[in-house]
């Protein structure tokens, strides 16, 4: 037994090597996308080397062409605007609502009902809301980026309110009572005391909401496709036919769509991983 424990305490090389090899399944598609994006169509021979070898001359031409064809900067702008506004509003509105509902649902039937009503929205698939929402946003004149943001605020509400009310259970009510005795209103107590304490949950909500909205195709596809405006993923779908068989151009465009979120991941890897785990486990 002793011997076994000693062995276990050192590095398990077979597993380490297997895991490193396994990484190839993640890296290969991205590597392939990158080398194809850097090549000229003439370098793409029919064999496997034509697609996967490193390009003979590094050229960013495909990227600038892809930017032009897909109207990259506009799509990027819409993607950033929709994601940022959604995340900021989600943190402000969902945390407030989570606070009001979370603090009162033990005593009041109205808040208990509100909680169950909103959280049960988690079971509603987008497919059933999709067609009526297309009609409704058009009638309201918000079949554009603004309507998309409103939809997101509602789609993420069940999850976010559940996260916030759950987190709030661990924040002692005495903290607020102390502030109230000093004469502060509930409103100002919230922003001065509770909102800052919920910071870890804001990070989780921000990560989950941002990943979801940034990568979503379906909502902008059905709601804002008539406006001529695209988000980054939607632009890939819209211009797919224009890429034709020019895969070099297509891959340059795909990479352009992936780069912003990859950079974001490199910068905030820890927060993103924590956010995803917290969101699922809590």
């Amino acid at each position: 037994m002793n011997k076994k424990n000693k062995v276990a305490a050192t590095t398990n090389w077979p597993v380490t090597i297997l895991l490193i090899l396994g990484c190839l399944t993640v890296i290969f598609p991205l590597y392939m996308a990158l080398v194809i994006a850097l090549k000229k169509p003439s370098e793409m021979t029919n064999d496997i080397a034509g697609a996967l070898s490193l390009p003979k001359s590094w050229s960013l031409e495909n990227f600038s062409e892809a930017m032009r064809v897909t109207d990259f900067w506009h799509s990027l702008g819409y993607s950033i605007m929709i994601t940022v506004v959604t995340v900021v509003l989600a943190i402000l509105i969902h945390s407030l609502a989570g606070y009001a509902i979370g603090r009162c649902m033990a005593k009041s039937k109205f808040y208990k009902f509100s909680y169950l009503y909103i959280v049960s929205g988690m079971f509603v698939p987008f497919a059933i809301l999709m067609m009526p929402l297309v009609k409704q946003t058009a009638q309201m004149g918000i079949d554009n980026w603004f309507g998309v943001i409103l939809c997101y605020l509602v789609f993420y509400m069940p999850m976010n309110i559940m996260l916030y009310t759950g987190y709030l259970k661990n924040i002692p009510i005495a903290l607020e009572e102390a502030a109230t005795i000093d004469g502060a209103t509930t409103w100002s107590t919230y922003w001065k005391v509770i909102f800052p304490i919920m910071k870890p949950m804001h990070a989780t909500v921000a990560v989950l909401t941002a990943l979801g909205t940034w990568n979503d195709v379906m909502t902008p596809l059905v709601i804002m496709s008539g406006t001529g405006a695209n988000t980054l993923p939607l632009a890939q779908l819209t211009f797919q036919t224009q890429f034709g068989t020019n895969y070099n151009l297509a891959f340059a465009s795909y990479l352009l769509a992936l780069i912003p979120i990859l950079i974001f991941y490199l910068v905030c890897q820890k927060q993103i991983i924590n956010g995803v785990v917290n969101g699922a486990v809590k």
């Binding site: 895991l19 496997i48 079971f123 509602v154 509930t186 059905v222 795909y254 993103i272």
Partner: protein, 282 residues
């Protein structure tokens, strides 16, 4: 201005949030339900047709096929994702080198958009794998196209599943293994008798989350097959989008969406009951 009481403040927060939620979730849900009793095409006038859409649904071969595909896909993808995710988690939680770098790489697929990932894999299935001598494209045969979608969806979902399993494994205290080792529990027996029972809550989270996501699959199908070949990979969400919004079956697909909604609720309730019973047994 008169100071608002705590209750008034909470009401002023909660009521607008409830209204917002009602307008963009409950209202479209009700409207979808109402459209399901009409022959609305998405434009022009329409009549009430009673429950004809529902009776037609059960005899419509295309709808039947889409349910069959969606369930087949979701079950296989859930199994693949959880088996590989658990294996990866055991490896990544073991005594290995470069732990955080490996974890960081394996998480990358989670942050990428499903549509663009689908396009990249589409190229791998269409050109790279056949060039390696693995027959013709998986996407062109009705027998293999759905497997290709399982592969892509699992490739992305494994990232989050693994991470949740890792956080589960970290809750298992080291002395459990030490005590087990005294009784001779190592390797497979250790996993079966000690590790797995202790991470069952994480197992159920993963089952519920991945199953629900897979049942709503859309992006990968849009990118890889558009429902083909021969409508063999039309998921329920894709069919509702395709025929409901662009195919003039607004009313009929609304009925389909209502049934889909009921199915999702039934499965979620079943899974939650089932897993909470399992957890009680421990």
């Amino acid at each position: 201005m008169k100071k608002l009481s705590r209750n008034q403040t909470f009401m002023l927060i909660t009521i607008p949030v409830l209204v917002l939620f009602f307008v963009f979730n409950t209202l479209p849900l009700i409207k979808g339900f109402m459209y399901s009793f009409t022959n609305f095409k998405g434009f022009g006038s329409y009549d009430m047709v009673g429950i004809r859409n529902y009776t037609d649904l059960f005899t419509d071969a295309r709808v039947g096929k889409s349910y069959l595909f969606t369930f087949k896909f979701a079950v296989l993808a859930t199994i693949v994702t959880n088996v590989i995710g658990l294996l990866l988690a055991l490896g990544l939680n073991g005594k290995i080198r470069a732990k955080s770098a490996l974890r960081g790489i394996y998480f990358v697929p989670r942050i990428l958009g499903g549509l663009v990932v689908g396009y990249i894999f589409g190229y791998i299935f269409t050109y790279i794998l056949p060039a390696l001598g693995l027959g013709s494209s998986m996407l062109s045969s009705t027998k293999t196209a759905w497997i290709a979608i399982v592969i892509v969806a699992a490739w992305q979902a494994i990232a989050q599943t693994t991470l949740i399993y890792i956080s589960g494994l970290q809750t298992v205290p080291a002395d459990v293994y030490e005590a087990g080792a005294i009784d001779g529990a190592t390797g497979w027996i250790q996993f079966k008798e000690l590790t797995f029972p202790l991470i069952i809550p994480f197992f159920s989270i993963n089952l519920v989350l991945s199953m629900k996501d897979f049942l709503m699959v859309f992006d990968q199908i849009m990118a890889l097959t558009k429902g083909g070949p021969a409508q063999s990979t039309e998921s329920i969400s894709y069919l509702i989008y395709q025929n409901g919004i662009t195919g003039g079956q607004f009313g009929f697909q609304s009925a389909n969406a209502v049934i889909f909604f009921i199915v999702i609720v039934a499965i979620s309730v079943f899974q939650l009951n089932f897993t909470s019973k399992k957890e009680e047994q421990l």
